[in-house]
Each structure stands twice: as C-alpha cells, then as structure tokens.
Assembly symmetry: C2
Homo-oligomer: 753 residues x 2
C-alpha cells in the first residue's frame, strides 16, 4: 500500500536514526560511561518482604579499604517522593531508603567504592537486624480489613470510580448477564539494558545525572525534590535507552547514585545486574479483573461493570495514574450506554509496579475481549459481528464529557483484518479441526484495543523542540523527548525534513537533556507521533516561515509567492529565482542579523484514539499443551501511516510482547515473596523462532488533529494479542481460560479435567 | 571605589563560575575523558625544518599489534584549509599532512593504538626519507628575492598597507624625525593545559570532537571543509579550556584525531605532551618593527610610519588577520594626522604563528611606546605629557573612515595612573638613583595601549544566547561562547541575573557546543564583555519581556506598571500583587502554553576601544643584570567595571604575561630550526614570587554602546607592560633597548659596552 500524502517524506519507509549505531555496538550507554575518579555503586536490597530495621551497622563496610561512601536511611534525606513524578500524596510515596522495608528488593543501603568488587564486598559487610512483620503477596488478602498495614492508612492505596449511564438499571434491561473473574500476572518489561545511573556532584553544587530514562524531566523533578535543589542545580541527561517499554519512566536508582556522589564527592555509577533488575524494577501490575456484562440477544452490550483489583506492590508508584488511565479507556471502546469502572489499588509486599506498554489497557481489554469471545459464542454470533455492533464509530465521542476521540476507524480495523486473515475460512478450519479431534487442535481468535495518544485528559501534554539552522543550511533539532528504540526522534526529524523539503540526514538531533532541550513529558503514553510529532511540525513550520521571510527579501519575491522545494526557496512568479538553504541562512545572519532558530512548545489539547484488531490462528498440541501461533494479522488505525516500516516494527515487537504475556511470562515469587525467575534463562520471553508469520496493515485514513494525519502506535499494538491468543486457545480446546499465562502445564491441566 | 550602577549585580566582585570546580580538580578536561573502545593517538612530527618527503613507510607501524590506524598525507584528504578559519587563499593554507614539511614539528603521520605506549612505539617505526631543502629561520632572509620558496608563490605571504593623511608630507613638517628598529621574539601562550582532542565518528557518519578550543565554530567549519561533511554531521564541543590566551583558536590536532577516528572506526584521543606542544602550537609572531616618527618640538606627533616584518612561520595561519588588526590599531591611539602602516608577512621554516592575547598590539605598541619614551626624553618632555598631547579624546573617531571608537578615556587613564603611581615622585627617585650611580639603579617607565572590542570592522561580530526558564523559575543560559578562564560566561550570567533580579546561582550555563548552542565567534578578540555580554543582555531583556507579559495576565496589571524586583514581578499600582518566577513560569506553561525561552543573536555593529596606562618602577642590579619590578600601577578604561574582581584578575594576569615578554620569554631555536626550550623548566614564564605589588584602577565611566556601560579588558591589559618595563629599564640605565626579552645577559652585555 502507498500512504504517501505527497511526493515527499510522508509514508516513507525509514529506519530509526540510531539503528546502525546501535547494531554496530557504537552507541554509548550509561554502563559504558566512565568519568574521572568515578566510583562504583552497589545497593543492598532487602532479603525479607516486610520488616522494621532494628539496627543497621555499616562500620565494617566503611572500614573496608576502597570504600568511599555508605548511605542508609540514617544519612540521606527522608523526603517523600513519588517515583513516577505524581503529585505528592503521602500514602503513595517512598523514600530513598526507609527504616521499614516493604518488599524483597526494597532498598536498604548502598556503597560507593573504587571498584565494583570492593563495593560488592562492602555491601555484604553491612549488618542489618530486621524485625519481621506480617506480609502479603496476594492483594485480595492484603485488602482485608484485619490485614496488617503495610503503610500508615492501611493497605488500600486508592479507590477509583468512573461511571457513565446507570449500570444497575442497564443490567436490568439485558437479556443475559455474564460475570467473570480474570487474573493477570506481574510481568517484566524485558528491556535489554538494565537500569543504570551515573551521578556527578561538583564543588559548584551542580548535580548531573545520566540515566537511560524515558522521562528526564520527571527524574530531574524528583531529584530536586529529594535533595531540595533548585532546577538550575540539577541536570538530567537521558542517555541512549536500551529498551524501556515503560520500565524506565520511574526514578529507581538515580537518587541512590546521587546520594552516593554527594557523600563521596566523586562521580558514582550504578549498573544493576539482571538478577537485581528484574526483582526491583517496577513491573506491570498483577491484577484481578472482575467483569460483568449485560447483553441483548442480538449482541448489543447494554451495560458493563468492571472492577480491577490492582496489586501495587510495596509502594504505589504509578498505580494511581494507571488506574485512572485504565478506567478512561473503557469509555473509548464501545458505545455501551451504561459503563462503570472501579479500581482498588492494594499494597502488598511484592515488587512495586509501574508503567508497561499499555498502561492498564492490557489487563482491561484482556478481560473485556475474553469475555466478549465467550458471550459471542454463547449467543451464536461471530465475535467480529458482535464487535461491529458495539464499537465506537468514526466521529463518536467519550460520552461522559463529550471529549472528541478523533476520527476512530475501529470498525474498519475489524473488517479489514477479518478479510486479510480470511476470518470465515479460519473459523471453518477451526470447526474442521474440532470435528477431527486429533492430537493437534487449530483455533482462531481475535481481539481489539483502543488507546489514547498522549497524557491529555489527565495532564496538560507538552512537547518542546528547538530547531536551529546551521550556516550551511543543515539543521540541529533538539528534542525534549528521547528515543528508546521506538523512533520518536526519527519521526520528528522526518516531519521537519518533509516541511523544509530537505534530506533527513540534514537534520541532526539532540535528545532529552534538561539543560539543553525544552521541557517534554517524555517518551511514553503513546505521545510520540501525536504530541512530539506535532511539536516537530510546529517547529518546522516556524522555521519555514523564517526561511520564507528571508527568501522574500533575498529573491526578492512576495512572501506568499514563494515555495520550498528540493531544499530551495523558489519564486512562483519568476522560476529562475531561487535560493538554497545555505543562502537563506547566510542572508539571515548577515542581512537580517538573526539566527534561524525556532524554540517551540506544543501543548496538546486534543485526544485521538488509536485502534487495532488482531487475528491469530494457533495450533495446540493436546499431548504437550504447547501452543504454536501459526498465522497472525494485525490491522491498525494510526491515521496516516507516516513511516510504515517503523510502524510495522512496532506492531511486530508488540505482538512478541503480547504472545509472551499470553503464553509464558510471569514474575514468580516464592512463599516468602522472593522472585524465583530473575534471569532471562528463567524468565521466558517469547523468542524469534517461536514467532508466527505476521501481516500488518493500516486503515490509512488521516487523523485530522494529528501531525500530517498521524496517530501513535506504541501501546495500542501490544494490547489485543493476549486476548486474541487466549481466545484462539479457548476456541481451539472449547475451554474458557481466565488466567494468564497459558503455559503448557495450564493447558494440560485443563485438558485432564 | 564603588562602581555599582544600582543596588544589584553591576559592579559586584564575583568569582568565575567554575573557579571552585577547577581548583578542586573536579573540572573534567579532554585529557580526562574516556570513551568506550577509545584509542590513543600519537603524531609523528617532522625532525627537519624543510624537506620533501621522498618516501614514507608505515608498514612496520601498521604491523605492530594494537595499532588500529595509521594516517599520512597518502590516505587523508589533501583539502587546503586555514587553521584559524580565514577565507581560503591557497598561499595561506595547510593540509592535515603534506608531502612537504615546512618546519620542525610539521605533521608527518599519526597513529591510533590501544595504548599510548603502543602508539608511541608505532610512531617510531614509521620510516620517512626526507629530501632536505634550503630553510630560513629569519624572515628578513626568507623575504629576499633569491630565497628558496617555502610555498609556491614565494615567501611573502601578504603585504598589508593602511594609510591616513600623507606621511611623507607630514614628515617634512616635523621638527625632528626618529627612526628605530625593534625586534620581538616568538613567545608561547603558556596555557597550563596542552592541546588535546577527542574524536568520535559513528556508523551514522556523525563526527563529534571534544576540544579545549576557544572557537568551536571555526573548528567545526574546518572539519566540515577538510572532510567534506555537512554541518549536521559534525559536532564540536568546546570542553573546559585550561587556558588559551589565543593559543587555542586555531585547529591544531582536531583534524588528526578525526582522521584517525574515521579510519579506525573507534574514538581517538590525542593529548600533546608539553615537549610536543610548545614547538607546534601556534605562537605569537616574532616581528621586526620599523618605526619612523616625525614630531614637533612641543611633542606633537605629526607623522608616524610603521613597517612590521611578520614572521608567519611555515604556514600563515592567523597572520593575515593579525596584520590587518594590528594595522587598524595604529589609527585608534593618537590624533596624528598622517599615519602609515605596512606589514610584510613572511614565511620561514619556523613554528606557524597565530593569535596570542593582543593580536598584534603587543608588537605594535611596544615599538611605538618605546620610541615615544625616547622621543620625550630627547625633547625634554615628561612622557605622560607627550601622550596627553597626542592621545585620542573621549569622542574622537578613526579618521580614516569616521568609525566611532566609543567614549575613550585614554587621557584619563594616563592622568589617574600618574597620580596613583606618584609619577613625579618616581621620576625624582629615578633621578636620585642616577645621581647616586650605585650597584642598583631605579628606573620608572610607563606605556599605554588601546584595543578594540570584538571583530567588528573586519567581520560581522555575532554572539548567540539561548535563555530558558525552568519550571521553578531558575534558568539555563546556553552560551555560544565558552569560558577559558577569563569569565565570559560568568559575566553573561551576571548580566542576566541583574536584569531578572534573581541570584546568580539561579542561572546555570551550557557553553559552546555547536549542536546545543547558538553560533558565536568564540572566546577571543576582547569580545567577551562587549559582544557576548551584549548578547546576554538582549536575551535577558527578551526573557524579562516575556515575564512581564505573563505577569500582566496573572497579577493582573498593565504591563507598563510591572517591575521585576527581588526575583518577583510586582504591580506598581497594587503593592500586594506580585508573582514569583516559578509562578510566572507555571502561568506560561499552563495558561499561555509556551515555554519561556529566548534564543537571541546579537550582531555587534559598533566598535568601542578599551584603553590602559601602566606605570612601573624597577630596580636593576648592574652587577647581575637582574631586573626587579618594585611597584606597578595599571589604570584602565573598561567603561563601567561590571565585575571589578574579575577585571583586576585579568589585569594582574596580563601584567604577569607582559613582564615575561619583556624580561624572560622567547621560543629559542637551534641552527636547524628546532626548539631548544620546550618545557616550562627551560621556557621561563614570569612566576608569582617575581611579581611586584600591583595596584589596579578603572576610570569607571560607562561606555554608551556597551552592555550596562561595560567594555572588554582581556587583551588591552597585556599590551602596555612590555614597553613600560623596557622604558623603565632603559630609563634606569640610560640605555635604549630595542630587542626583547631583556634578559640578564642582555643587560649585562649592554652595560659592558
């Protein structure tokens, strides 16, 4: 398909800018950095799930030669902060170190030493006496009234309630009401680069932190808050991010590195090992999803009632934001008149939780789409037909408040996908397999997802770009956002290249550095294309305007009779009059006496919703329980596909994550709350050889509020596959699976029943 | 004295921002940097003064394990470039490596290896066969017609002629005509940090170079030119400069590091040793100054004719710019109606020459002020009286073209200095000493200097600043200039702090980084206060305007009835209405939907002239020839002294340099053109214990075109002392010294005549 809006950059298949540098091993990550006199930091993590620290003796560690600083709750700020930068609310906050540890892996102390070996040895020399307290791994246990409080104020961190219509009345109108309970495990983002931080604190009192963070600005805000420093004294540089997927939004060890650097008076680098990283990095929330749906016999949903019991872990982190965001998504999917969402955020003594690609969507839509698969079957309907009956249409709004959702081509995704996948044929194949009833059973499933673009609705969504022309007409684009592999910064350069009609290589870029770039919310929440892309367009247009002004004087020509083409400004009246970018830059410098620089801020005040429908065919081995995906089709509405290659890459990667969530991933805890699978040998992510062939397509209709009609893809793409797979397996085996992951053992156990 | 223009930052005694970081050893220089997989580079320098390379065999070096790249003229671009960024003119240009070496120390080849030891060994394994050519160390030999040409086109690189009035006619009107020949040696800038460069070239084709350069922009331009790269592909970061004094303007080894990095595909760092640095870094031009002056008996100078024979060394480097600048200065000092300046730039087979604090002034005014001392004596006049008769006054112009020189308080410097120094008393003391005629003779001398501010007149002078407000109301100032210890960036922050009425610590800064900051000419040519300071004022005022706009909406209040005071915006009508910077920043972000960021470019279209008069008393030991400065007074016209502590530091350091030039410094060559004093043990710079007590004062009258009335001090301050000292020694011993330095041996030899 050809999505080119014109003979330019839009719709071009472009690699991510740093792809080659990354794959050739040249990209320098924080773990590669060395500063003069740099020390190595190591953290002592709690071995117990819940305890009061009775005593902590660091004297032996401090006495070890080569140890330069030891920090504990006794000599660091006890400022409360929220790791993901949320508004302060005591019950949701944590400290760098606390006298009460609340999960296995909670931070107890840290050491900075001349070598890593000395630091490791010193950490083992710290003597801690713990007074163990009752602990909870299960949120439904922890939320009981009689449970021992993990935080003052009890174990329920927050209850969120959202509503539209009257669900109770709606249920009365229903012909049938279905009620299910689904459970989803905590899973890890499985980025390749573990968490790392390098902190330097100089004699001027300036703290500089290099971190592979998705959100340099929130890290800076938290460091300022924790150490009571003005923003002029803190610089956070978002170094190349070796994968994030939400796992690198929260501040996790940056504050520890900073505390050590301040104490030692020397730079300190901490790099978590994989065994340290998986058990402490903020993972996707384990949830219990209660869903009750009232339908008419024709498949129309008249009421839906969702209650999510969210396991926040030892600290709330981003849970509140996720609960609110998750709830909002329910109202953007179907035209159901009566909708209710409730979330109960519950502390347990497990890993604190945070963002992971989807931000609540995967859990919500897993439950909803699994149940719809079941309802459709029950009603004798094709699931695609039932969806088409209920999904929102192109100009539908969020009915709670009338918020427009952009042009949402949800139904088109379903129809296009069904056709590409040959849904009818696949259903027939499934039916044949059922009848054959052999060792291998074929099943097909599908599911959909809707996902907003950016943080508008919850916060003002802001993205900043500085665009500066060099004297030779090339450009430096300074993006407040950063690229974690998803191509945000590449897209911004692409859009500027389109506007100014210059090659992309003429646009170099700088990314999130709180001293050098403008404020930006960061790389998350599917804001890349829709918000950051729009900021780039704004900057590009501001630059274009300046170039036209220069051209008007230089050619000379009326400003309205000049166009940019092939990297030159052309007079439309006199085809022999043109000027190169370099000539315009020179004219600006020497005649207009100005630098061609645009520093713009885009505030997104709109909400567009991306949509996707995934279709999968699986073969289940009834002797081993193994599920093998055979064929996969994903159709998305991303407005105009600005860079189809990158979009396809996003979708393919997302399906890999979704398959893992569905079939093999979970962070496992022993009875004492300790993670038992903290390596990639033990923590099984779906691998390349296990992947099915994938076909990806896009509806391709422009989103009027998006930059060049584009919308974001990042999160929406990861959401449908777990439900689609689980639907396919359920359909194949005529079972009704409620709990992820669907490991072989689970399948076999269900078949033996 | 109190120079405060108001109860704010102007006139405050402020330390340089990175002083503490520097003195505590925390500042990270290029030599401290390490990148992953970084190699160490070593350059092979020519051991002969002039030769054609007959053959060069790098095979043994390449075969040495650990060697990753070897570069010579055979495998690097033969693009001609001018090291200081001047316009291309073949005769003035050089290559990275050339098949003809033109001075001892010319670049022949370079090696990058895993360790420095391997690189050093590999350099020794490169076999070069030289066909030696005739060579010249003396420009007056090299400029003879029959001399062997060092460059095609002969040994005279350029002849500059400047004129005002009719010198030949003027001389006829003179009662007396004096004619003298003065010689000045080549000297080294004696920065503490040697030249260093770190280059990284990644798979995306992006070249990044870290260099302690005073002019990142010219280094970038040259790298683009040499390697034929667009500016979007080259980033130059001006790292902390460990002293420059002009010696770090020219590109010297950055291209070699880049060539090695490109060849090896790995980062390469080169750090010159002191023994390498002194013989190859571009030093102050050795010159022969011919000066002929016609005077009336009352001391009025009616005509002056100057001819400078400038030894450019093996390549011209910045010589042309210096010759033109030097000539221009002659016309800004006195009101002499007939002035002529000629410079003959001559290639020799010695070290290429470049900028050093003063840019031609030290040589010009040494000759002029030495001769005026002699003339005054001859005419029976006090030198200060003769100067007062001839110096330009407050509103005088450059008579060649009517260019205003700002408000030039030259005469006031002389009068104030004479009074502070007790010039009359000192002359009496000298006279008493003469009469006493003992072993120790006391002498007094004085001299003056005038120096422009910035490069206006030769080039458009441009300085760029980006000023960005953080959410807490603190600021990041991104300066296209850099600080080499002279306080430019500190001053910029000071001015912004004054305008916005906030503490200086609230303004953090980023300096010259071609990707992150705006274009700026760099740190040289006394542009710091006058040009870069003005850019900061422009940025500060642009930010102030935005703050007032926000305040007008927030308070609310008429924009003309709001003032900034103590870091808040206040309503003048309603004294209870005010807003903090943080509140204004928040209002901008959330109500006006903009980032408070000002990206401004200041183009200096004016010329202000700084002035200084130095007075010194010396004691000469007639038995040893030792000159001991006993007392020193320096009075300068720098407009409003914006930061007296920094200005005093500049003047004191300048006097130290001037004393060294006068009494002990010279780069010495053996008969084959090899430097014989390439360490600081051998190259004697004037040291702290040798320094006299110094009193510094400023006229203190604001310069109307300067930022807050300020003018620059950097170069003007270094100029008068060599002549003042030589005058004092001449006066003490009743000799007439014409050649620097006045080492003990020279004094003794003159006395024994």
């Amino acid at each position: 398909m050809n999505y080119e809006s014109q003979d330019g950059m839009i719709g071009k298949r472009l690699p991510i800018r740093d792809a080659v540098v990354k794959t050739t091993g040249q990209l320098r990550y924080v773990a590669d950095m060395k500063l003069p006199r740099m020390l190595h930091g190591k953290i002592l993590f709690s071995p117990v799930a819940h305890a009061r620290i009775k005593s902590i003796d660091t004297s032996k560690a401090e006495a070890l030669p080569g140890v330069r600083a030891v920090v504990t709750y006794l000599n660091t700020p006890d400022t409360l902060f929220n790791c993901c930068g949320e508004t302060i609310d005591e019950s949701k906050n944590e400290r760098i170190f606390s006298p009460v540890v609340r999960h296995v892996g909670d931070r107890v102390a840290a050491v900075a030493a001349d070598t890593l070996a000395i630091a490791e040895k010193a950490v083992r020399l710290i003597e801690v006496e713990y007074e163990e307290l009752p602990f909870y791994l299960d949120p439904e246990e922890a939320m009981k009234e009689e449970a021992y409080p993990i935080h003052e104020g009890g174990n329920i961190a927050e209850v969120v309630n959202l509503n539209q219509g009257d669900v109770d009345e709606g249920m009365k109108e229903a012909d049938l009401v279905f009620e299910d309970r689904y459970t989803l495990p905590g899973i890890h983002q499985a980025y390749i680069e573990t968490h790392a931080a390098l902190a330097s604190y100089d004699a001027n009192g300036k703290l500089t932190v290099w971190s592979p963070t998705q959100d340099a600005w929130s890290v800076r805000m938290n460091l300022c808050r924790i150490f009571n420093l003005k923003m002029s004294r803190v610089r956070v540089v978002a170094d190349p991010v070796g994968g994030g997927f939400g796992g690198k939004i929260d501040i996790l060890i940056e504050h520890v590195a900073a505390a050590l650097a301040m104490k030692a008076g020397r730079p300190v680098r901490i790099v978590l090992t994989r065994r340290e990283d998986i058990p402490v990095a903020h993972s996707r929330h384990p949830m219990v999803m209660y869903i009750r749906t009232g339908v008419k016999r024709d498949g129309t949903i008249v009421a839906q009632d969702v209650h999510a019991v969210i396991n926040t872990g030892g600290y709330a982190g981003g849970t509140s934001a996720i609960a609110w965001a998750m709830g909002g998504k329910l109202f953007r999917m179907t035209n159901t008149p009566n909708l209710r969402f409730k979330a109960t955020e519950v502390y347990t003594n497990t890993i604190p939780t945070g963002a992971m690609r989807g931000f609540g969507s995967p859990q919500l839509f897993f439950a909803q789409q699994r149940q719809i698969n079941k309802i459709a079957k029950e009603l004798g309907l094709d699931m695609t037909e039932m969806l088409l009956k209920n999904l929102k249409g192109v100009h539908d709004k969020d009915e709670r408040n009338g918020t427009p959702l952009g042009d949402l081509y949800a139904k088109e995704c379903v129809s296009m996908g069904a056709e590409m996948f040959d849904w009818k044929g696949a259903l027939a194949e499934q039916e044949a397999s059922r009848k054959e009833n052999g060792r291998y059973r074929v099943g097909v499933g599908m599911a959909v997802a809707a996902h907003g673009n950016g943080v508008f609705g919850v916060h003002t969504d802001i993205s900043g770009v500085i665009l500066k022309m060099n004297d030779d007409g090339t450009l430096v684009m300074s993006s407040g956002s950063c690229d974690m592999g998803n191509g945000v910064v590449t897209l911004q350069a692409q859009l500027i290249s389109e506007i100014l009609t210059i090659p992309m290589e003429d646009v170099t870029f700088v990314q999130a550095d709180t001293d050098n770039t403008l404020y930006d919310w960061g790389n998350f929440s599917s804001r890349g294309t829709y918000v950051c892309g729009a900021a780039a367009v704004k900057a590009g247009n501001a630059m274009k305007r300046m170039l036209l002004e220069e051209a008007a004087d230089l050619l000379p020509e009326d400003i309205d009779r000049i166009e940019l083409r092939d990297g030159r400004a052309w007079s439309l009246n006199y085809p022999d009059r043109s000027a190169t970018m370099a000539e315009l830059a020179s004219h600006a410098r020497h005649k207009s006496h100005r630098d061609l620089v645009a520093a713009v801020n885009h505030t997104s005040n709109g909400m567009a919703v991306s949509f996707g429908a995934h279709f999968v065919k699986v073969r289940v081995d009834t002797q081993t329980g193994e599920v093998k995906p055979l064929d996969y089709v994903a159709v998305h509405d991303v407005g105009t596909p600005l860079n189809p290659m990158n979009l396809e890459g996003q979708v393919e990667g997302a399906i890999q994550m979704g398959l893992g969530y569905a079939l093999c991933e979970s962070i496992n805890l022993d009875a004492k709350g300790k993670v038992t699978n903290s390596t990639f040998r033990q923590y099984h992510i779906f691998t390349a050889p296990e992947m099915p062939p994938i076909r990806v397509a896009f509806v391709g209709k422009p989103e009027p509020t998006g930059p060049y009609g584009g919308k974001s893809i990042g999160e929406c793409s990861v959401v449908p596959s777990p439900a689609a797979i689980a639907n396919a397996v359920s359909n194949a085996l005529e079972q009704d699976y409620h709990d992820l992951p669907l490991r072989k053992e689970v399948i076999l156990a269900s078949l033996s029943k």
